[in-house]
């Protein structure tokens, strides 16, 4: 996994609460059997005026000029500023894949849906939780100064933008894995003996758990 240490980039605001995963990446794109290539369809229904299909050539599609990511001042944004309950809805990991593929490295919001939050960490995308007033200030700062860059420092757990400097909380294990870009499966397999011991105990106590599903 790609590590995340410090990132500085242009910030784009998406000013609505409860942005759900169907909005982030509509379901017709979930048919892909790959992990990449979702970027052109990020926020598809908001971004384009026509209906996107998995095979469409996105370069010729009519853009919705009102949608924030289509505005020239946000071209090349890598930091997404959002409102509360971002990523609610389905468990599709395609949502962080699409954000990442588009070029975002971090999403800042007052709160995230649980599964989405969790999925971000598996893909080197850092979700940052700040308080509502702090997020409000960032929205204000972006509106006030075109080209505003935000710096997110994972080791220091800080977000800096112009004069603003905020601290965020994150759990140690996730922080460690993301800083180092660790493979979680490899880490868990270091506990193979504990897993086997658990299975042996379980098989003795509750034998019906194992063995039944077979053909």
């Amino acid at each position: 996994m790609k590590p995340f240490t410090v990132h500085t980039g242009l910030a784009a605001p998406i000013d609505r609460a409860n942005v759900d995963t169907d909005m982030i990446i509509p379901k017709q794109f979930l048919k892909s059997i790959r992990r990449s290539g979702f970027g052109p369809n990020l926020f598809d229904e908001l971004r384009y005026l026509d209906v996107g299909e998995p095979d469409s050539d996105n370069s010729g599609r009519p853009l919705n000029p009102d949608f924030v990511l289509n505005q020239p001042r946000y071209a090349g944004a890598t930091v997404l500023l959002a409102r509360k309950n971002f990523g609610c809805g389905s468990s599709r990991e395609h949502a962080p894949w699409a954000l990442e593929d588009f070029g975002f490295r971090t999403v800042i919001a007052p709160s995230f849906a649980d599964i989405f939050y969790n999925n971000c960490f598996k893909n080197g995308l850092l979700p940052v939780v700040l308080s509502e007033p702090e997020v409000d200030q960032l929205f204000g700062a972006i509106a006030a100064s075109e080209g505003l860059q935000i710096t997110v420092d994972l080791a220091a757990q800080s977000v800096a933008a112009g004069e603003l400097l905020f601290h965020f909380e994150i759990d140690d294990f996730r922080k460690h894995c993301l800083l180092e870009g660790l493979d979680e499966i490899g880490l868990s397999l270091q506990s193979s003996d504990a897993i086997k011991a658990y299975e042996a105990k379980r098989a003795a106590q509750h034998p019906w758990v194992f063995g039944a599903i077979k053909r």
């Binding site: 309950n85 759990d171 034998p207």
Partner: protein, 476 residues
């Protein structure tokens, strides 16, 4: 030992290893796979040269984007019209064959929506940890399982280690006491709960549903409620074990027999919260006050009793709420303050892992019997949740009732719940739907979803608009 909640007990009994930072390695008893969220996980295994940790804890079935059309289904996987959908289903078949995972293929008895087939075959049993790459996995919590959705990286992690790295959630209990009124169903109960606590009300919690209403509810009804825990923000929804649970599980295909059954049952009976267990949050609703519910907006919390109306802009407390309401009204093509029963219906969908079990089919058929779909309604899809539900419904003659009413009886799958196949809403069309999400575009681009119970959906099909099903039931 301190008093424990059901969730505490399930967590405790599956703990493989605790880590200093509060995360833990938790053992997974059942992992259910489908075509949409698994291909990248299998690819990850292949690339790392890994194999599944074990096979007898995994089971797979295609459901999300298979066709529900009879003729297309009969043509097998090659008959799936959309080529990307076809590739996804083929990829699941190939991966399961390659890695040796038991799969109920598209037209086999046993195939169905992951959350319908799991409990019905006895794949999931009380006291188990259950995961699936689908956020409605909490459905299995109706059997006192610790069940929740996971992402694709976690699908790969569970395949490779049979464990999940996770953190303990907080405990919430939602009590609904009293007796449900005539014509009020489990779907109405869960929509009323979401209306009360909001779509983020359960974030970070494992919810236990308790109280007289759940004690009196069938397992299928409890599944409908647990299914939508995620719509209240909670990954986990559960109900403790009682006699109803044991009776439901007994005799199913993968369930133990003989001495193992006896010992399983005595263990399962311990799977209730201790009387003095402490919950971090508690919510109480009066069951007798719940009316049939209808969502009018594009978030499940935008819900009202069928006797009510769409909210007024002036009643909103904050600018943010006002903006959300304005956006919803615009998207849904509704006027503030209009009566819920004035909402027209262009299509009706009866199905999804929320409401496609046999009891749901019976409830819809009871309303459809001897009646005809309104001329203004373009299509009514009735989609059983599994091959077994389909078989049972046909044995009871329910398919004939639906057909006689002018409804379409389809092959099992997710269908118009998320419209990954050809079952879709057109832009601007209103749909009375028994599914679980009314997000913008969920059932088709520009489609307008109104979440309701199966009886309410059938009633809307007959009337051509949202209607209080209780008025039709009194006609019997």
């Amino acid at each position: 030992m301190a008093a424990m909640t059901l969730y505490d007990k399930l967590w405790q009994s599956h703990l493989v290893e605790s880590r200093d930072d509060g995360s833990a390695l938790v053992y997974i008893d059942r992992h259910i796979l489908h075509e949409v969220t698994s291909p990248q996980a299998f690819e990850g295994l292949r690339m790392a040269g890994r194999k599944p940790w074990r096979l007898d804890t995994n089971i797979a079935t295609p459901d999300h984007n298979i066709s529900t059309d009879r003729a297309e289904r009969e043509a097998g996987v090659d008959g799936i019209p959309d080529k990307t959908s076809r590739l996804q289903v083929k990829t699941l078949d190939d991966n399961c064959d390659h890695f040796g995972i038991v799969e109920y293929k598209m037209n086999e008895l046993g195939q169905g929506i992951v959350h319908v087939m799991g409990p019905e075959m006895g794949v999931t049993m009380p006291g188990m940890t259950v995961v699936c790459g689908d956020s409605h996995t909490a459905t299995h919590g109706a059997l006192a399982c610790l069940a929740h959705g996971i992402g694709t990286s976690e699908v790969e992690h569970v395949l490779a280690t049979q464990c999940l790295v996770t953190k303990k959630m907080k405990n919430m209990r939602i009590r609904v006491d009293g007796k449900l009124g005539f014509g009020v169903t489990p779907k109405d109960v869960v929509l009323a709960i979401i209306g009360k606590i909001g779509t983020a009300g359960g974030t970070g919690y494992a919810i236990e549903f308790a109280g007289e209403v759940f004690e009196a509810m069938t397992i299928e009804g409890r599944m409908t409620v647990c299914n939508m825990a995620i719509e209240a923000g909670a990954r986990v929804g559960m109900v403790g074990v009682d006699q109803t649970t044991i009776d439901y599980v007994e005799g199913r295909q993968f369930v133990p027999k003989g001495a193992d059954w006896e010992s399983a049952v005595s263990y399962w009976r311990t799977l209730v919260s201790d009387p003095d267990a402490v919950f971090d949050a508690e919510v109480v609703l009066d069951g007798s006050a719940i009316a049939p519910q209808v969502t009018w907006g594009n978030s499940p919390e935008m819900v009202a009793p069928v006797t009510g109306s769409v909210p007024l802009l002036a009643e909103q407390n904050s600018a943010e709420q006002r903006a959300a309401l304005e956006r919803a009204l615009h998207y849904m093509g509704l006027q503030e303050g209009s009566a819920i029963t004035d909402i027209p219906v262009d299509r009706v969908f009866i199905g999804s892992c929320t409401n496609s079990r046999i009891e749901d089919m019976r409830a819809a058929a009871a309303v459809a019997r001897g009646r005809t779909v309104a001329a203004s309604v373009k299509q009514v899809l009735v989609v059983p949740g599994s091959q077994m539900v389909k078989q049972q419904a046909e044995a009871e003659g329910l398919d004939a009732i639906f057909r006689a009413a002018g409804m379409q009886w389809r092959e099992p799958g997710c269908s118009m719940c998320l419209a990954m196949n050809n079952d879709k809403l057109g832009a601007g069309e209103h749909c009375a739907s028994t599914s679980n999400r009314n997000f913008e575009g969920r059932q088709g681009n520009g489609g307008r979803t109104h979440l309701v119970s199966p009886a309410m959906a059938a009633a809307a099909a007959i009337a051509g608009h949202i209607v209080d099903v209780r008025s039709m039931m009194e006609e019997f």
